[in-house]
Amino acid sequence: MINRKKFDFALAAYLIILIVMGCVAIYSATTTTIGDYIHTENNWWKQIIFAAVSLGCAFLLLRLPMPIFELIVLPAFVLNLLLLIAVLFTPAVNGSHRWFSLGGLNYQPSESAKILTILMVARVISKQHLTEVRQIFYGLGITLVPILLILIEPDFGTTLVFFFSLLAMLVAAEVPLVYILLLISPVISIVSSLWWVAIVVWILLLLFLLLRAKLSWIAVSITGAINVFLALIMPVFWNGLKNYQQDRVLSFIDPMRDPLGAGYQIIQSKIAVGSGAIIGKGWLQGTQKNMNFLPEHHTDFIFSVIGEEFGFLGSLLLLFVFILFFQRLATAVGELKIKERKIAAAGILAYLMFQTFINVGMNIGLVPATGIPLPFISYGGSNLLINTLAVGVVLKYLNERGFMI
């Protein structure tokens, strides 16, 4: 059922290029050179096997008849929610309950929840005759269930991904931007409460925009009141926190406050990437990587190895491939005419793009460390499988173009 004329070879090609780049980086990240003694862990060929399996699964997905695919989304989503509950009862690893371990393979239900939630939200909010408000509330309602379960694990970083895909899907559903502004206004209010000038400017700007959009007076005043209240209550709430709780929040926002914890990883990553300079130290030649200052740098900190060994030019090349890949996905969103598929593709685009930005940003000290891997590059089977399937879904949608319209 794969239509050669409609199959998006460019998107598939970018996907494979990214996976290959990942394997090259993983090979280096797991190699240790001590004098004339060189040791490489077997992660790189494991990743190749994972890649083959993932691409195979994506291929099967493409062959799957569309009605069957549409039929399994809801049961799969419910099953996934059950797994998210079940995972809370597994023994804690590093203080959180995230993984099922099955004979050496680890599976995170929060990974598959990302793609299934996107498909579920897309299905519901694309229904005809829904008002914008309902679209927003249905979307939020569906997204909040897995988010709450994942917060219990706890895994804060992953829940952010859900929010960003939801926003993107609402944009794709052509919900007026002013509603999306309403949706994110509390977050901005909380952030702006750090400085009273920012509060005043923000609230005025918000009211202005809302009035421009010709919202009713009631809606505007309620929104304004809520935001003013949030901005004013935040300092009170903050001062009510215990010292160590404040410290924890501040260290999350600014890891450099905690040199013995998160700050240590960020600074080591920055040194590795920075010391790569323009052309890098060469493949397998990373000295910081070799000293193993960062534990497990084949997973979340894989970009530090790329930055160190291939320098600014290598990093640019990687980002360039990512840009082409995301451009192609954005185009796909425009090309898909069925509303549900368009919205789903937008969610997938946002989720991959957000993860890429957060991970690279974390590696160069731009954003807090949240434990989000770099899509297609970081080592890890279930992550690679889910990301590849997500792209597979878009490929499938593109492949089915024109059948219904």
Binding site: G35, V171, P259, K270, A277, G311, F312, Q327, L366
Partner: protein, 629 residues
């Protein structure tokens, strides 16, 4: 291509996010690239562990038994190795480290190549001086001072520490041990590892090759180490060394002296012994051979070996007879004619002449076997088993040392199911009645039982630890509550047994007349147990002295040394007399030396520690290792 609001929003977002990343990368790699290159080359930016000082061990007068002494150590940072061959050659020539061992160590730590590996410890200072110059050729190697343990005298209770091995490292993964850590391997060092160890601190090192701060972080935040707690034992070093002095040279056996009031052990001597200090260095093949000779110097004969108790077991059988009412104080059993016929076998008494018909007190005094052959055969074996168990001679005592052994006493099920004996058990029971046959005890079990007898039947768990010292003071009862229970005896039984073992050391013809301690009432029992280890019997004496209150119980045991009254009782007598001669000094409370005082504590000598007030605020502690050069 389709132009629509959503795609436009996505393209703009993508453009902005990627522009931010490229900009940040440009700043980091192009603008500040050479700065970070410098930082990377210094190789010094890392978290360093500040090793906590291990607690020391003192006797009841705060005199040292185990102390920390400085030592020179050689460390390797495997990530900096340039030439493995040259390094292996250097290490083999100067420190006797085999190339394959080096390779193994390096491989083990391949995920932590920046962390230092402890290659050799306790290096003589001359070697350090001689090799310091050559170390410049090997930036991966460095000498630093650390600490090692020093043990005041050979003994079996302190145990010793050693480098953590791979199995222990896995087992205690959650406890934050470093691969270079020392961990208690045996004895108190192992039993109280949690108290002694403390918690390592850590600090962030941010210096360049010249030692200048790189100022990657504003503050030099560090977590101070929490030093381990020192232990104060009930052991009295004077008494311990006196026991060692009077124990006959060349004999194998043990001496246990216990304070009856507390159950604390004053002297704990097992012979032959070994010097734990030998484990602090690489052990030479000769030393290793000596440690594993057939004399078994590593064996702690007090708790790691079980022996037939022989006649010291008789009060247990006697008391059961009294309790069940088979006999009373005056009951005379079958007359001893140098033995007793049971079934078609003749069971000999140790005396060929025979003792005639005896009461329980005289049966103890002369240690007549026939009385007990007859007595146990008038009782139910399983009831006797229960009684022996309740007297604490089956289960291990629970002393605060690892790997203590259980004793053994058979019941009917054992004979039927394990030994498959269908016939009557009278013959087997007869042997059990005199502490022979299958019955086995550790010397400590015997000692603890007699201490309970001295306390009018209150059994208290024997122990070495009195309290911890230093950062906080925790008494033994707070660390782990002491087990206590009463022996299953009536007052009357107690009185008869007291009279019986008083007769052993005092009445004419008693087997332990060698015991003579002026100013005290003495009690005791001898034993000479036949065994499979040799022709000579195992010799036992166990007894106690009472002034206005019970003082100490002494158990002396010697393997294959002959009769207990002849060889063991004189040793015990010397210890009793030494104790009485020095009783004021031994009982005088000692002043707590300043380094052991808990913060805020007065210097006044106190017998019972004052209640702890400031456990929550540990004293500021200084790092114990020098920063790397």
């Amino acid at each position: 291509m389709t132009r629509s609001v959503p795609t436009l929003v996505f393209r703009i977002s993508l453009g902005v996010l990627m522009a931010v990343l490229v900009g940040a990368l440009f700043r980091l790699q192009v603008v500040k690239g050479s700065y970070y290159k410098n930082v990377a080359e210094s190789n010094f930016v890392r978290i360093r562990r500040i090793v906590a000082t291990r607690g020391e061990i003192y006797d009841c007068k705060y005199r040292p038994i185990v102390t920390n002494v400085p030592s020179h150590n050689l460390y390797l940072t495997s990530g900096k190795i340039a030439d493995t061959g040259k390094l292996a050659e250097f290490l083999a020539a100067n420190f006797g480290i085999k190339p394959e061992d080096l390779r193994k160590e390096v491989f083990q730590q391949r995920f932590k190549t920046y962390e230092e590996i402890l290659l050799a410890d306790n290096i003589p200072y001359e070697t350090v001086l001689a090799l310091s110059e050559r170390l410049n050729e090997f930036p991966e190697l460095s000498f630093r001072t650390g600490t090692t343990r020093s043990y005041a005298y050979p003994n079996h209770f302190t145990g010793y520490v050693g480098r953590i091995d791979e199995k222990e490292y896995q087992q205690f993964a959650a406890e934050d041990y470093s691969l270079n850590a020392y961990i208690g391997k045996t004895g108190l060092e192992r039993y109280y590892e949690v108290l002694l160890r403390g918690r390592d601190g850590k600090e962030f090192i941010q210096v360049d090759a010249q030692g200048k701060s790189l100022e990657l972080f504003k503050d030099n935040i560090s977590v101070a180490p929490l030093n381990g707690l020192s232990l104060v034992l009930s052991i009295d070093n004077d008494l311990q060394s006196y026991a060692n002095e009077v124990f006959p040279a060349g004999r194998k056996g043990c001496v246990i002296v216990t304070d009856i009031q507390t159950g604390g052990i004053l002297a704990y001597l097992s012979k032959p012994d070994y010097d734990p200090n030998v484990f602090m260095q690489k052990i030479s093949p000769e030393t290793w051979e000596a440690l594993n000779s057939k004399e078994k110097p590593l064996l702690d004969r007090i708790i790691h070996a079980t022996y037939p108790p022989g006649s010291v077991f008789k009060p247990i059988i006697g008391s059961k007879g009294l309790e069940t009412g088979v006999i009373d104080r005056n009951t005379r059993l079958s007359p001893c004619v140098g033995g007793l016929r049971i079934g078609n076998r003749f069971f000999r008494c140790w005396s060929h002449i025979g003792h005639g018909s005896l009461s329980i007190v005289d049966a103890h005094r002369f240690s007549c076997d026939v009385f007990f052959y007859d007595l146990i055969n008038r009782m139910n074996l399983d009831a006797v088993f229960q009684h022996v168990k309740a007297c604490g001679l089956v289960d291990r005592t629970g002393i605060d040392l690892p790997n203590e052994r259980d004793g053994f006493f058979p019941d009917t099920a054992y004979y039927r199911n394990v030994r498959h004996i269908k016939s009557a058990l009278n013959g087997y029971k007869a042997n059990l009645g005199i502490g022979q046959g299958e019955v086995l005890c550790t010397p400590l079990q015997i000692n603890t039982f007699y201490a309970a007898v001295a306390r009018d039947g209150l059994w208290i768990e024997p122990h070495l630890l009195v309290s911890t010292m230093g950062r906080s003071r925790i008494s033994r009862d707070e660390v782990q509550p002491l087990q206590k229970h009463r022996l299953p005896w009536s007052k009357n039984t107690m009185q008869v047994i007291h009279d019986a073992i008083w007769a052993v050391t005092n009445a004419p013809g008693g087997t332990a007349r060698a015991i003579n301690v002026p100013g005290t009432t003495t009690f005791g029992k001898t034993g000479s147990a036949e065994n499979y280890m040799g022709k000579m019997t195992h010799a036992w004496f166990t007894g106690y002295i009472v002034t206005d209150k019970p003082e100490i119980v002494v158990t002396v045991f010697m393997e294959n040394a002959g009769g207990g009254g002849g060889v063991c009782a004189p040793v015990a007598n010397k210890i009793f007399n030494y104790y009485m001669g020095n009783i004021e000094r031994i009982k005088a409370p000692a002043t707590i030396p300043p380094q052991l005082r808990t913060p805020g504590e007065a210097a006044t000598p106190t017998e019972t520690p004052p209640p702890e007030t400031n456990q929550a605020t540990p004293a500021p502690e200084t790092p114990t290792q020098d920063p790397p050069q």
